[in-house]
């Protein structure tokens, strides 16, 4: 069942159309990627989901119920343009944001202690935000986003400002949150993390949805009949009616070859043909990366 659904959302600013009949459906306990080039309308959609701005038309449902104002307490939002009060103390500030989300002070205090310890920033509790490094500020921000234990969490570029170690920590926390039952909408330009984390995606360009579905399905759909073939020894094979050689490398006494097969070729036939040339170690279809798909889809529209 979809935890969150947006149906036919349209939003205009004056004469500019930011969203044109966009629909998304986010299954429960899913990590849902919201992708698109700059200025595509992602932020507007996210703001509409957060009820920061209202859509001109369209409807939204949370748990099958129409989205209400009070639902903000079950949604967590880490905006791309984020910040904290520089002069305010870290702990005090985290408490403030928790209270704004409707968590009582004592409740928030306990949870904050837990998370501050978990992310190893408890020593910074009484410091002013401006004394913290960017990465630590981001950790504080991450904690304030999830402290009210939202059912739906929206992360807009959650990894900016983190080093690889901390990126990994946050990645694991996101997976942990999903494990505990949260549903996550994840917006980013980092396609590597999309492949790694997302189950489903929607790609928006110029205010419209142009691609949606599960990551695996999309990748196999966009697979362009390419295979990676590894043969033992220094083996040369030639193009023929069944396939074309795109690329060949030799190292560690292995030949790695990328093939593009003709549309009608049958895998068994190809393998039979290749077996004549040498010993096959592996033969795998190459799925296009999300990065490639993103670029191809967006560029084909221009």
């Amino acid at each position: 069942m979809a935890l969150f659904e947006a149906k036919n959302i349209t939003k205009q600013f004056g004469r500019f159309t930011a969203l044109d009949d966009v629909s998304i459906s986010v299954p429960e306990q899913c990590i849902y990627g919201l992708l698109g080039p700059n200025g595509a309308g992602k932020t507007t959609l996210i703001r509409i989901i957060n009820q920061i701005t209202g859509p001109d038309s369209g409807e939204m449902f949370l748990n099958g119920q129409k989205l209400k104002t009070s639902d903000v307490t079950t949604i967590g939002y880490l905006p791309e343009e984020r910040g904290l009060y520089k002069k305010m103390k870290v702990g005090e500030q985290a408490l403030y944001f928790a209270q704004l989300k409707g968590v009582s002070k004592t409740e928030a205090m306990g949870r904050l202690k837990y998370w501050f310890k978990k992310l190893d920033i408890i020593d910074w509790w009484g410091k002013k935000v401006e004394e913290l490094s960017k990465g630590m500020q981001q950790k504080v921000q991450f904690i304030t986003t999830i402290l009210h234990e939202p059912k739906l969490i929206i992360f807009d570029e959650p990894f900016t400002g983190f080093d690889p170690v901390n990126t990994n920590i946050i990645k694991n926390e996101i997976l942990f949150l999903r494990e505990r039952g949260a549903t996550i909408i994840f917006s980013t330009h980092n396609m590597g993390s999309v492949e790694e984390l997302c189950d489903n995606i929607t790609l928006i360009d110029k205010a419209r949805t142009i691609l949606e579905g599960s990551v695996d399905e999309i990748r196999s759909k966009w697979a362009a009949n390419e295979f990676d073939l590894v043969l033992s020894g220094d083996v040369q094979i030639e193009d023929n009616g069944l396939y074309k050689i795109l690329n060949r490398q030799f190292d560690n006494n292995k030949s790695t070859i990328r093939l593009k097969t003709a549309g009608s070729s049958v895998t068994n036939e190809i393998l039979t043909e290749i077996m004549k040339s040498g010993e096959i170690i592996s033969f795998n279809p190459t799925l296009p990366s999300m990065n490639e798909i993103f670029i191809r889809v967006v560029e084909s529209r221009n």
């Binding site: 600013f13 004056g14 703001r47 957060n50 009820q51 920061i52 701005t53 209202g54 001109d56 104002t69 903000v72 949604i75 939002y77 880490l78 905006p79 343009e81 984020r82 910040g83 904290l84 009060y85 520089k86 002069k87 305010m88 403030y96 944001f97 209270q99 704004l100 989300k101 409707g102 921000q141 304030t144």
Partner: protein, 452 residues
């Protein structure tokens, strides 16, 4: 509602805890009273050094003892001494200066010289010329051979001071002082201007801070933009009110201390005994004992001023001050909030500030004019126009304003601020999420008409 109170609390506490707030709150009334009291204290104590002045009269002893000693200076009559000798060594002899009276004085008023190393104070010169004039007048009168002249002179000596009494609708009269009303008008108008502008600008700075530090988007995902804006405005208003109330209490405290110590400290025991009694009785006593009054007129003046100030309708002044502060502040703070939301940094506010500053300054200027002519139609109209009425009305109230005028002005104020808060909220809602856009009044007008 609960969320607004969380916001109000944060806005209030972070500001009240600031060192600048604490210093400002404590120092301002001390400075204020200092400015008011210092001249009086200086006047009372004057120059601590007692000056000795040698009086030399060429050829006669007409003016022997004509100049009475004051608390600042003793006049030593040396009679017919050689001025040229004394000129050389008057300082060694302990004199501040030499007053030389030539025999020509009866006919030519210029025939008198004060020789000193320093520029003598104006009070000293007034005293000398006044005393001599009186003596010369007496001498001239004597020439008419009037009987019992001294007796007559004593009888006709008079002192005039006007008492102003205000009568209200119920026929109750209170003694007032135009000087006090002017001072209150000035303080009230200026303080209103200062507070509205200061705290209004604080709202703007707060909004800009939230926008530039990008906190705002996190917050508006939890609360409505209007709630954030109103929370900020109300929180800062409470800071202003807190400051104002502390000022009132501190001023009252200082005033009480001044009343009980400084005034009693005065050298004249007769006066201090009279002080606690009511003003009418005191005036009679002073009238009955002219010498006392003459001996320390500044002190009497001060205590009278003091009691007159107490006769003002403080309840009306303070309650209307609070009303106009709240509404005037809400009006301007909402405009300031809208401006803050429209810009990316403080320097960009310039183009928006002028149309906001002009009415405030205009109000201040009219308020200053009101002090000299409280009944003018200019003052009336500006005390009705909501953009200027808080300042101008505060300047009018100490002089007495008909009830219907206050009521009408307040009503207009309420209607206007509600309208402006509503409009500001619409602009604010769009503005806080707009970055890198050069904003203009036209742009703001467009935002005003955006839907949700």
């Amino acid at each position: 509602m609960n969320k607004i109170s969380v916001i109000i609390k944060r806005e209030y506490i972070t500001r009240v805890r600031k060192k600048s707030f604490i210093i400002m709150t404590i120092l301002a009334p001390v400075l204020m009273t200092g400015i008011i009291i210092l001249p009086t204290v200086l006047m009372m104590n004057g120059d601590k050094n007692l000056k000795k002045i040698a009086v030399i009269e060429d050829g006669s002893d007409l003016f022997k003892n004509a100049i009475p000693d004051t608390k600042d200076a003793d006049y030593v009559y040396l009679g017919n001494t050689d001025i040229n000798v004394l000129k050389k060594n008057f300082e060694q002899a302990g004199y501040y200066g030499i007053l030389y009276i030539s025999p020509e004085i009866i006919n030519t008023p210029n025939a008198i010289q004060l020789i000193s190393k320093n520029q003598p104070p104006i009070g000293l010169l007034d005293h000398i010329s006044g005393s001599l004039e009186k003596e010369i007048e007496r001498e001239k009168l004597l020439a008419y051979n009037i009987q019992d002249l001294d007796e007559i002179l004593k009888n006709i000596r008079t002192k005039v001071s006007i008492q102003t009494i205000k009568i209200d609708e119920t026929g109750q009269s209170t003694e007032t002082s135009t000087g006090i009303a002017m001072a209150l008008a000035y303080i009230g108008g200026f303080l209103m201007y200062m507070l509205v502008f200061m705290f209004g600008a604080q709202v703007m700075r707060g909004v800009i801070e939230e926008k530039t530090s990008r906190v705002v988007e996190v917050i508006v995902s939890s609360v409505k933009p209007v709630q954030l804006m109103m929370g900020k405005i109300i929180g800062i208003a409470l800071v202003g009110l807190t400051q104002f109330m502390i000022w009132v209490l501190l001023t009252l405290g200082i005033v009480t201390v001044v009343k009980t110590t400084v005034l009693k400290q005065g050298s004249m025991t007769e006066i201090t005994r009279n002080l606690p009694q009511n003003i009418m009785a005191e005036n009679q006593l002073i009238a009955a004992t002219p010498q006392t009054a003459e001996m320390s007129p500044e002190l009497v003046e001060f205590s009278k001023m003091f009691d007159n100030a107490m006769n003002q309708d403080w309840l009306l002044i303070i309650t209307s001050f609070i009303f106009y502060f709240i509404t005037g502040y809400l009006l301007y703070a909402s405009i300031f909030a809208a401006i803050g939301s429209a810009v990316d940094n403080e320097t960009e506010t310039q183009q928006f500030m002028l149309p906001v500053t002009v009415p405030i300054l205009l109000g201040l200027m009219v308020a200053m004019g009101t002090m000299t002519n409280p009944e003018s139609s200019l003052s009336f109209w500006f005390s009705m126009i909501p953009f200027t009425s808080p300042i101008v009305m505060m300047a009018r109230i100490p002089f007495g304003v008909p009830f219907w005028q206050i009521a009408l002005s307040m009503l207009l104020m309420i209607i206007t601020f509600i309208a402006f808060v509503w409009m500001a909220a619409k602009v604010y809602r769009t503005g806080i999420l707009m970055y890198g856009k050069k904003s203009s009044w036209k742009e703001l007008w467009k935002w005003l008409r955006y839907s949700g």
